[in-house]
């Protein structure tokens, strides 16, 4: 199985506060990884380091076999940009462009960044919207959509660049429980298609049902990682059990 993501001894501090202490893990092609843990455990920072939104202080990161960060530091801007285009990120609060229609939100990057033909980009965008069940909303503006619909548009927007690996930063945290389901359904479909995904989430049922592997983080370190049956089962460490118990209450 090809390695889509390799992280070794990743470290990151904000000032004197260490947020990531020594993170190492790998993600294989088509794997779905759920990252769980209490607030402030460094989950989001980890994701932001992997997507280059934050610069890590040390360790190494390789995406699709391309080194991004090594012991010698970050690669040059051109390499980083190439790598960035292989990664997609779905934000907690969507971050759609409010002044563009749904369709243009999706086509803008393929047309302006990848220099794709506009008609072709629009065709692909419509396919993605169909997949998200939002075909009818192509001409709408983000403010006219529900949170769940906006999040599906932002997933379509990330997919339009055909990323090799897709990251989700608490994709359902800003949504009503009712709308959470529609996002989880989309992620499940993507998993079935073989999309490699790393998902920071508070949806434990989702981590259990969809993820191939679950990473439990706390205090900037990976406390435990393994198959859902392991972390959600009897063999899990006490800390993980304690954390999960609070969710099942």
């Amino acid at each position: 199985m090809a390695k889509m993501l390799e992280v070794q001894n990743l470290q990151k501090s904000f000032g004197d506060l260490p947020v990531l202490r020594d993170i190492s893990f790998e993600v294989g092609q088509g794997e779905v990884i759920a990252v769980i843990g209490p607030s402030g455990s460094g989950k989001s920072t980890l994701l932001r380091c992997l997507t280059q939104l934050e610069h890590a202080d040390g360790g190494s990161i390789a995406v699709c076999g391309d080194e991004m960060l090594t012991e010698k530091g970050y690669k040059d801007a051109k390499v980083l940009r190439t790598i960035r285009l292989k990664t997609g990120l779905v934000f907690q609060n969507f971050n759609l462009f409010p002044h563009m229609t749904v369709l243009r939100n999706i086509t803008e990057a393929p047309v302006c960044v990848l220099k794709q033909d506009k008609a072709a980009a629009e065709q692909k965008a419509m396919e993605l919207l169909r997949k998200m069940g939002l075909e009818a909303k192509a001409k709408s503006y983000p403010c006219e959509l529900s949170g769940g619909q906006q999040q599906r548009v932002s997933i379509a927007r990330a997919l339009a660049l055909s990323p090799e690996i897709l990251f989700f930063d608490e994709p359902t945290s800003a949504l009503d429980p009712e709308l959470t389901g529609e996002i989880l359904k989309v992620i499940k479909e993507l998993a079935a298609e073989g999309m490699t995904m790393v998902i920071v989430t508070h949806e434990m049922s989702f981590a259990r049902d969809v993820a191939d592997r679950v990473i439990f983080m706390e205090g900037g370190v990976i406390v435990e990682q393994g198959e859902p049956s392991q972390l959600f089962g009897e063999s899990a460490s006490d800390r993980v059990k304690q954390f999960l118990a609070r969710f099942s209450e």
Binding site: L53, R84, N95, V113, S154
Partner: protein, 237 residues
């Protein structure tokens, strides 16, 4: 004043509307782009650049526009007769013609310069506020999608800034219509100038009243225009 006189006065003042509009239009034409540049300079990470810009804005907003107009206007004749003026600058300034028709051009340019420098400072503060109000997530989303910094600014940020700054800018622009009357102090022949002159001729307040109506109509038209633009841009939040 008789009806005929009033009509005559109206037609006369209409001719002086053009210089007013010229000053107004050219000020906007230069002050808005310059204001955007100044806003970006103030947000510049290089500290001295940001400090200098801050000082410029402080001075422009901290002193009267009328004073600035007078200072700019008299800067050329005063500097070139100043003994401490460096040679190259004096040579440069000696080329400026101040008499006759060229003097009128000089006057307009200097008044325009003062207006542009002043209004750019105000616009800069409005634009900076607008740029800083754009959530960080917009930059991050654009970055994740591979947009360059320039593309992000022009395609993602600027269109949203425009919408945000329109209410405050329209205020500034309406103030500018009325501020053009300050050019009267330099003898620039605009509406205020002719109104004051005709007031003496007719010994009547009607010319001043009429000037007031001119400004009022222009300000009202601009108000209508901006509420229309705001409505046009309300398709998104």
């Amino acid at each position: 004043m008789t009806g005929e006189e009033t009509l005559h006065l109206f037609l006369l003042m209409l001719q002086y509307l053009l210089p007013t509009l010229k000053l107004f239009g050219f000020t906007l034409l230069y002050a808005i782009p310059l204001g955007m540049v100044v806003a970006l300079l103030k947000m510049c990470r290089i500290k001295p650049v940001s400090w200098l810009t801050r000082l410029y804005i402080l001075i422009m907003r901290g002193t009267p526009l009328l004073l600035q107009i007078i200072v700019v206007y008299y800067s050329v004749p005063t500097l070139r007769s100043n003994a401490h003026c460096p040679e190259f600058l004096r040579n440069l300034l000696n080329h400026v013609e101040l008499k006759g028709d060229a003097g009128d051009v000089y006057m307009f340019r200097m008044i325009l310069l003062a207006f542009v420098l002043n209004y750019a400072a105000y616009f800069a503060e409005i634009f900076r506020g607008g740029i800083e109000a754009i959530p960080k997530g917009q930059y991050e989303a654009a970055g994740m999608l591979g947009f360059s910094r320039i593309q992000t600014f022009f395609r993602i940020i600027l269109p949203q800034v425009v919408k945000r700054v329109i209410p405050a800018s329209s205020n500034e622009i309406i103030t500018l219509v009325k501020d053009t009357s300050l050019a009267y102090a330099m003898g620039y022949m605009e509406i205020m100038y002719i109104a004051k002159k005709q007031m003496t001729t007719y010994s009547s307040l009607t010319p001043l009243f009429m000037a007031g109506v001119f400004y009022f109509v222009m300000a009202t038209l601009l108000t209508l225009l901006f509420s229309f633009v705001e409505k046009k841009l309300s398709y998104y939040k």
